[in-house]
């Protein structure tokens, strides 16, 4: 019997001009945003690859110079775009995707499109993730708010129920019928997305298709939440207008109000310094040290080396004491960076956890977090790359200072290393975290989305059971 309901609902829906036009609109936006995202991601990947090659070439051909000068010359590291980043650009436009790795400094990331964008561009930049998180739920509401309420108003509900069909069969049939109509819109988009994944340069990530499958599952669960909520409200509302107004209010809270409140609340509970304050704090601590992290003392360092090598004068040392001191300065700086960036990342992590918890009030927060995580554009994966880049920087500095220490003497400012040293430094080979790592970080969002799914289905079931004929 259910297949008759499904078939009728599907036919009724696709013959409805309102559905056709809204589906064409949302479908077009989805496909255009996917295509635009893919082109942008591909372009960015190509630009990053070209820039990475150029920076490597510059590094290797920088000519003969003192290794510490080479350390100041530095290199650029570019955060690779993962295959799914065309679906959701996440925090990348705000955090930046490249960083200059140089001596003594852990620099901020550069290339932040959001920084250069006008307000209109920020609002107008529609991504596939935004279409999926906001417009598809709106379409679901518009399709289903009248599922029961309109039938009740028209009087068809009495006739339907007089046939002997049960409420539950009716609800399931309506849900599947609406799903079928939505599939007309979403399946082509999913196929286009999968094709884009296959032909895209997948980037340094494990199993992009597995990430894509989980992402599709998360969005599917999110859509079912809206479908179930819409049916629940429609079953109980006294009129279709009441159902529509209520559901639109839910949509506004879910998509616009709750995410904003969650971000503001998390910043209030776990405050983070402004970029200016942060930079000033790091600068001050680098100059003066802090608590048990004192800046290295050059005289002490020299005295220690003289004792270690059993000589009286620095000129008699078989190594370059300046190189040792420079590395000690690096180590000191690293501890200051670890202390400050560690606290900053921890604050971001706590903010993230609070936001994920607040997804209990709005499933959009959960699906947004999962979407960014699976696309490789969330804060955690930005941190993952930033830490990999910083580790690379530290190794690079250690190698440069080590070469200077080992191959020159104190006061010998004429020492210059060449291409052999520069080429011995391996390029940054970044391996993005595997799917398990991503899901492990997003366990709370998965749980909350799962709870929303179960809750919405149970609510729909209960409301349909208690629904009235007239």
């Amino acid at each position: 019997m259910i297949h008759h309901i499904v078939r009728k609902e599907f036919a009724d829906m696709i013959r409805d001009g309102r559905f056709r036009w809204s589906a064409i609109l949302v479908g077009s936006l989805l496909l255009v945003s996917l295509a635009h995202g893919w082109v942008q991601a591909r372009k960015a990947s190509q630009e990053h690859a070209a820039a990475q090659a150029t920076t490597r070439e510059h590094w290797e051909t920088q000519g003969e110079k003192n290794p510490h000068s080479a350390a100041h010359y530095g290199v650029y590291a570019f955060k690779p775009r993962l295959a799914l980043s065309f679906v959701d650009e996440g925090v990348d436009p705000f955090t930046g995707t490249s960083v200059w790795l140089e001596a003594h400094r852990q620099n901020d990331f550069l290339l932040r499109p959001a920084q250069d964008a006008t307000a209109a561009q920020r609002i107008g930049a529609l991504t596939a993730a935004q279409v999926l998180q906001h417009l598809v739920p709106l379409l679901i509401i518009l399709l289903t708010f009248g599922a029961f309420a309109s039938e009740r108003e028209r009087g068809t509900l009495r006739q339907l129920l007089a046939t002997g069909v049960g409420w539950r069969e009716l609800a399931l049939g309506k849900a599947l019928g609406a799903s079928g109509a939505l599939a007309l819109l979403l399946v082509p988009a999913a196929v286009a997305g999968a094709a884009a994944l296959v032909v895209a340069n997948p980037g340094p990530t494990a199993s992009p298709l597995a990430r894509g499958a989980v992402l599709a599952g998360a969005y599917l669960a999110y859509f079912v939440v809206f479908l179930a909520l819409s049916l629940a409200v429609s079953a109980r509302a006294r009129s279709s207008r009441t159902a529509l107004v209520f559901l639109l209010a839910v949509w506004v809270v879910n998509g616009l109000v709750a995410p904003r409140v969650a971000v503001d609340l998390s910043k209030r509970v776990y405050p983070t310094p402004s970029a200016f304050e942060f930079a000033r704090t790091v600068e001050r601590e680098m100059a003066d040290g802090v608590e048990d992290i004192a800046p290295p003392d050059r005289d002490e360092s020299t005295e220690r080396l003289l004792a270690e090598y059993g000589v009286e004068r620095v000129e008699d040392l078989p190594i370059n004491a300046v190189g040792v001191y420079l590395q000690e300065s690096e180590e000191f700086g690293n501890r200051i960076f670890d202390r400050n960036y560690g606290a900053l990342w921890d604050a971001f992590r706590r903010q993230g956890i609070l936001q994920e918890t607040l997804a209990a009030a709005a499933p959009s927060i959960a699906v947004r977090t999962l979407s960014m995580g699976l696309a490789g554009t969330d804060v955690e994966q930005h941190r993952h790359f930033a830490e990999a880049a910083e580790t690379y920087r530290r190794d690079l500095m250690r190698q440069m200072n080590g070469d200077m220490t080992e191959n020159s003497l104190t006061g010998d400012f004429s020492y210059a290393a060449g291409a052999e040293l520069w080429e011995s430094v391996p390029p940054l080979e970044y391996e993005a975290p595997p799917l398990g790592w991503v899901l492990g970080n997003r366990i709370l969002s998965l749980a909350v989305l799962g709870a929303w799914l179960a809750g919405a289905v149970l609510l729909a079931s209960a409301q349909v059971r208690r629904a009235e004929v007239a």
């Binding site: 036919a11 009724d12 009087g155 068809t156 009495r158 006739q159 046939t163």
Partner: protein
């Protein structure tokens, strides 16, 4: 469980009310209705607005639960055999409402399938619609182009397709022109001849006398009198009706 009671005087009633009562808060909408409608009988419930006619139909449809008593369809208590009893019923409301984006055939196919008839096939569906009085050419058109009379005919077609034991009609000819009303009565007559028990709530005394085999007059939730239509003329029916529904007793 079968709840029918044996009758020594005739066939088992297909629609039966036993002490059927419905209260909405302090208001008694239906008061101890006893009624038995046999196969091939058309029972017309007459009465002013609020007399309890639609409440009676809603109780037979299981849309509201009785406060006391039983409504039985083919011997099955509606309260305990919701789906089985509905399978044996067809229902035509005052205004048959259909799905505007579907054709007459598709509407009939849908309601028939939900009523347990499975897929009848296009040819059979058109046959039923034509039998119900709908023009064959109109059957394939979207219902959004139909008049009220055409929609009522689709409603009748739904009832025919269901092959139900009993038919519930709630003001079915309200708003129809005389020709359409007359066609409607003829269709009810054909169903009656097939042994269907019909319960029709109506304000239309002429149609009740013309179509019904028995008439029950309701007032303030009570069945105040029953008549055989064969024994009264139109004028008598009107007189008796007015005698019983003059406001000589308020709701209890």
């Amino acid at each position: 469980m079968t709840d029918s009671h044996e009758s020594n005087t005739g066939p088992k009633p297909l629609l039966e009310a036993r002490g059927l009562t419905k209260d909405y808060g302090d208001t008694r909408a239906l008061d101890s209705l006893d009624l038995a409608i046999a196969p091939g009988e058309v029972y017309c419930l007459l009465g002013p607005n609020g007399a309890g006619k639609t409440t009676t139909i809603n109780l037979f449809l299981g849309f509201v639960a009785p406060s006391a008593g039983q409504a039985l369809v083919s011997g099955l208590d509606v309260s305990t055999h919701d789906r089985e009893s509905k399978r044996r019923l067809a229902y035509i409301p005052e205004q048959v409402m259909l799905y505007r984006n579907l054709s007459g055939i598709e509407n009939l196919e849908y309601f028939a399938a939900l009523g347990g008839q499975g897929s009848l096939g296009r040819e059979r569906l058109v046959e039923i619609l034509v039998e119900a009085g709908l023009d064959g050419d109109a059957a394939g058109r979207r219902v959004s182009t139909y008049s009220k009379g055409m929609r009522q005919k689709v409603g009748i077609a739904i009832a025919i397709a269901k092959e139900a034991d009993a038919l519930l009609l709630d003001e079915p000819t309200s708003g129809l022109d005389p020709t359409a009303s007359s066609e409607f009565s003829a269709l009810v007559e054909r169903l009656r001849n097939r042994g269907v028990a019909v319960l029709m709530a109506t304000h239309d005394l002429f149609r009740a006398k013309d179509t019904g085999t028995r008439v029950g007059i309701m007032h303030y939730g009570r069945l105040v009198t029953e008549l055989s239509t064969a024994e009264v003329g139109h004028a008598d029916l009107e007189r008796i009706y007015l005698e019983h529904v003059s406001d000589n007793g308020g709701p209890r």
